[in-house]
Each structure stands twice: as structure tokens, then as C-alpha cells.
């Protein structure tokens, strides 16, 4: 209810007295102030009139960028002292006189890293091969079991850096659930 009144207020649909009462009243608590701010950001964003990006800002930003050549054009502004690898294998002198090949070298390193990975177990002597074998069920994304955990997955993702999409079916049910809460 409060939200729809805030929305109406933003859209200019409330009478003046009603607006003032709402703004001054006890309803305008912390939570509503936050919502008010959110509505403003959304409104600004959707109306394409975001005050965050005024023409003044753009001019200032352009000026700042001009002062930062290394960031504004990383390809062109690589320091000359750094050897820029070419896509073909080559030898290039480094400051310390080492010889470094680039693309073939990269392959060698990739192979040797892979080899090292295969050889190395953990510090506790538990390599992958002698770790206890666990029974792990692969959840089909469309299954009822996957659907049952989708809410937890979404709640977990607020804190993690994975962005695994819940499946279409799960999304639909999540969206429906959110809609019910509105």
C-alpha cells in the first residue's frame, strides 16, 4: 500500500495535501526513504535523465581521461621498455638478458602446468584419486529436485561470484513467487 502511494507521489498523481501528508507523516520512515531513493534512481534511469551523467560530468570526465593516457588507450600506450609479444614465436631481449619465446613458450608452460597439476596432490597427501569416493547425483536442471533448490541457489548467489542461471522453469517459478510477494 505504502509503495503504491510512493509510486503515485512520484508520478504526480497525488493531491498536494496528500503528498505533503505522506512526506511529513510517520510513514516516511527509514525504509520508505530508501524506497524513495530507489524509485528516484529507477525513474531517472528510465526517463534517461540520470543526474549522475550530466553534460558537465561528461566534460569533466573527458578532461580526466585525457590526463590518463595509459588507461584510455592501453594498446597504444604500452611502455616501450616492455616487450610486446608478437603472435609468432620469437626471441626478444628482456632487461635481464633472458630469452623468452611467447606463443610456443605459452604452450610449453600450459603443458608443464598441467603436468604439475596432475602430479601434485594436496598437502595432506589426499590426492583426488585416493580421496573418499562420494556419491554425487547430477541434478537435471528441469527436474523437481533442481527446482526445489533453486531458491537456495538464488539466495546463495547474493554472496558468491557465480552467476549460474537457474533454469527457465525455475526462473518462471521464482518470478511467480516474487510476484506473489509484491
Amino acid at each position: 500500500m505504502k509503495e503504491s502511494r510512493i509510486s503515485a507521489l512520484l508520478d504526480g498523481e497525488l493531491e498536494k495535501e496528500e503528498s505533503l501528508a505522506l512526506l511529513a507523516g510517520p510513514e516516511m520512515d527509514e525504509r520508505l526513504k530508501q524506497d524513495w531513493q530507489v524509485y528516484h534512481v529507477i525513474g531517472d534511469t528510465l526517463r534517461h535523465t540520470s543526474p549522475l551523467f550530466s553534460s558537465k560530468f561528461n566534460a569533466e570526465f573527458a578532461a580526466r581521461l585525457a590526463d590518463e593516457p595509459a588507461i584510455s588507450a592501453p594498446q597504444a600506450s604500452l611502455p616501450r621498455s616492455r616487450d610486446i609479444p608478437s603472435p609468432t614465436p620469437h626471441f626478444s631481449p628482456r632487461g635481464n638478458g633472458k630469452l623468452v619465446g611467447w606463443s610456443v613458450g605459452a604452450v610449453v608452460v600450459a603443458v608443464s602446468v598441467a603436468g604439475w597439476l596432475l602430479q601434485s596432490g594436496s598437502e595432506f597427501g589426499m590426492s583426488a584419486s585416493n580421496a573418499p569416493i562420494m556419491e554425487v547425483t547430477e541434478l537435471d536442471q528441469a527436474s523437481a529436485a533442481a527446482n526445489a533448490v533453486s531458491g537456495y541457489l538464488t539466495a546463495h548467489q547474493e554472496f558468491s561470484n557465480i552467476q549460474q542461471e537457474t533454469s527457465r522453469y525455475q526462473r518462471a517459478s521464482m518470478d511467480k513467487a516474487q510476484g506473489r510477494n509484491q
Partner: protein, 324 residues
């Protein structure tokens, strides 16, 4: 022919020797650079996120200015979805019906390429950080950094960072069998330059805006408020937060305990079981995420995270009720 072979062998030998001497001291410094670059630079590009047999494509625009960070991530496949972030405020835009767009606020999630925590110092405690050579991603020359877990409780990571700016251009996670679990890869990216203000606005613009009221209700708890405790956390994992929150479709609030080693995150959900209800048990996996479920004193315990099955199982088995 023979001399060509000899030259090639010599070349391989020398280059691997040179790489081996490239030593780890600057690998940790490179991590710092990677962590900062994603927040400090302007960039726009397209990246894919792949896990299992799924591929998702997103477009990202990121602007850093005096007002902080401004970012838009637009999902290019499936249902349209845009995330607009202004510093810590994250708004998610979705079309609701023909004429409406639904907006809801989210907690900040670490969005690629900002996968690393700002504070990278503790990473070396749980992972061996080493240079893994050079590569090319999206047309840029990259330094490759490998993060090898020091035990079996976390996945192995590999990071590809632009040599010039440090921007993370590719990140891959491998499981204990050295199989790819998931990866983010920029297919195209431009760094620096001016970001047009229109690029940061959601395209999903409807006449009517439906706003869900801020964040879903959640209360932060302290360990003393909890009837539960994780008694044996794997090394390096520390509590991030403890919440009492309402999840969509659930009648009763659930407890969510979040733990992280700085890179990988695990959530523990604990909720009362309706009497007579039978809850799923055991380990399961979905994409990069492992689950472990069990019941404990008429409650269901669900542990999940982008970590090996052994980690969620160890955490789940170690949940105990606390005597009050």
C-alpha cells in the same frame, strides 16, 4: 630437418627455463592488480559464462568516475534481464508484461570481471599463487595466474589478465579431477575511452514500473542468536554473515550462514521440517555448485557452494545444535 628439430628443442628448453625463473613473487602483486583493475577501469565488452553444457552471453559496460562505479550488465540470451549497479546499489530490470518492467534491488554480487575480493592478501593462505605463462584472450596479451588449492576443499582457478591494465579477461575453475567446472571469457572488450551515458541505462524500458520493495526481508544474526553451529569448518573458511530471511515460496523464515575463503563461498541453510515431511538427503550437483542435504533434529540442513563435494559434505555433517 634434424637441425630444425634441434632448434625447436633448444627453444622449448630455453623458454620453459625462462618461464620457470619468472618466479612467483609478482604473481601475488598481479592478483592485487587484477582485483583493482575491474573496479578502477572503464571498459565495455561481451563475455560468456560457461558451465556444464550451458553457455550464457552478457554485455557489460563499466564506468569509474568521481562518483564511484557505474555498471550495466545485460543478458543477451534467454529472457531479457539487465543489472544496473551504482556503487553498492544493484537494480535488476526484467520485462514483466507487454507494457511493464519489473525492478528489484539485489545484494551486491561479484560480477565478472570483478571476481576477486578487493582484499587479496589472504588468498595466498589457501591457494598457491603462481605465474602460469602468457596467453591471448579477446585479442589482448595476458598474464596467466594459477591459484592451486592447498587442500581438497576448494577448486583450482586460473586467471587471464590483460598485461597492460590487469583487467581480468578470462577466469576458469577446475575440479579435483582437473575438469573444467566453469569459465568466464571476454570474447570482445574495449578498455578505457569514453563511456556514453546512454550505455549505462537499461534498455528494458516500459511505461509502467513495478518495483519490489527493496531487498527481500533478511535480518543479520549473531552466533549467539543461533541454535546451530558449524563445528568443523574447512581450513581457511570464515563466517561472512548469518541471516534469518524469508525465501520465495517458503512459509517460515530460514537461517542462512555464509562462509568464504575469500574466493569460494558456501551457504548453509537451516529450516524447520514440517512434521512428517521427508527431506532429500545426500550429495548432488548442479553445474558448478555442489549440494549436501541432511536432516537434524526436525530441521533440514542444505549446504551449497561452488566448492568440491567434500567441502559441502564436511560442513553439512559438522552442523550441530547448540544447547541454550
Amino acid at each position: 630437418m634434424r637441425s630444425a628439430f634441434f632448434v625447436a628443442a633448444l627453444f622449448f628448453g630455453l623458454s620453459s627455463l625462462a618461464q620457470a625463473e619468472a618466479g612467483p613473487p609478482n604473481a601475488l602483486a598481479e592478483l592485487k592488480k587484477i582485483a583493482a583493475a575491474a573496479h578502477q577501469l572503464n571498459y565495455r565488452g561481451t563475455f560468456i559464462y560457461q558451465y556444464g553444457d550451458h553457455v550464457e552471453t552478457s554485455r557489460i559496460v563499466h564506468l569509474k568516475n568521481a562518483g564511484g562505479e557505474h555498471e550495466k550488465v545485460e543478458s543477451l540470451d534467454g529472457s531479457p534481464r539487465e543489472i544496473v549497479r551504482t556503487n553498492d546499489q544493484v537494480l535488476c530490470f526484467k520485462p514483466d508484461s507487454d507494457a511493464a518492467v519489473s525492478v528489484h534491488e539485489k545484494r551486491t554480487e561479484r560480477i565478472f570481471p570483478a571476481l576477486l575480493p578487493v582484499q587479496t592478501d589472504g588468498i595466498g593462505d589457501n591457494y598457491r599463487v603462481r605465474n602460469a605463462g602468457e596467453d591471448r584472450v579477446a585479442g589482448y596479451h595476458c598474464n596467466v595466474i594459477a591459484l592451486e588449492p592447498r587442500d581438497q576443499y576448494r577448486y583450482r582457478l586460473k586467471l587471464w589478465a590483460d598485461r597492460a591494465t590487469g583487467l581480468l579477461l578470462k577466469a576458469a575453475t577446475y575440479n579435483e579431477n582437473n575438469e573444467l567446472v566453469g569459465q568466464f571469457v571476454f570474447t570482445q572488450v574495449e578498455m578505457g575511452g569514453q563511456i556514453d551515458k546512454t550505455a549505462l541505462k537499461p534498455k528494458i524500458a516500459g511505461r509502467k514500473i513495478i518495483v519490489s520493495s527493496g531487498l527481500p526481508a533478511a535480518t543479520e544474526l549473531r552466533q549467539n542468536d543461533l541454535l546451530w553451529k558449524v563445528s568443523r569448518l574447512p581450513p581457511g573458511f570464515a563466517p561472512v554473515t548469518m541471516l534469518k530471511r524469508v525465501l520465495p515460496g517458503k512459509d517460515v523464515p530460514v537461517n542462512q550462514l555464509v562462509f568464504s575463503d575469500g574466493l569460494a563461498t558456501v551457504s548453509v541453510f537451516i529450516e524447520p521440517l514440517p512434521s512428517g515431511a521427508k527431506a532429500p538427503q545426500g550429495s548432488s550437483r548442479q553445474g558448478a555448485v555442489n549440494f549436501y542435504m541432511r536432516t537434524l533434529a526436525d530441521h533440514q540442513v542444505i549446504v551449497l557452494g561452488e566448492v568440491p563435494a567434500a567441502t559441502v559434505a564436511r560442513i553439512g555433517k559438522s552442523v550441530v545444535s547448540v544447547e541454550k
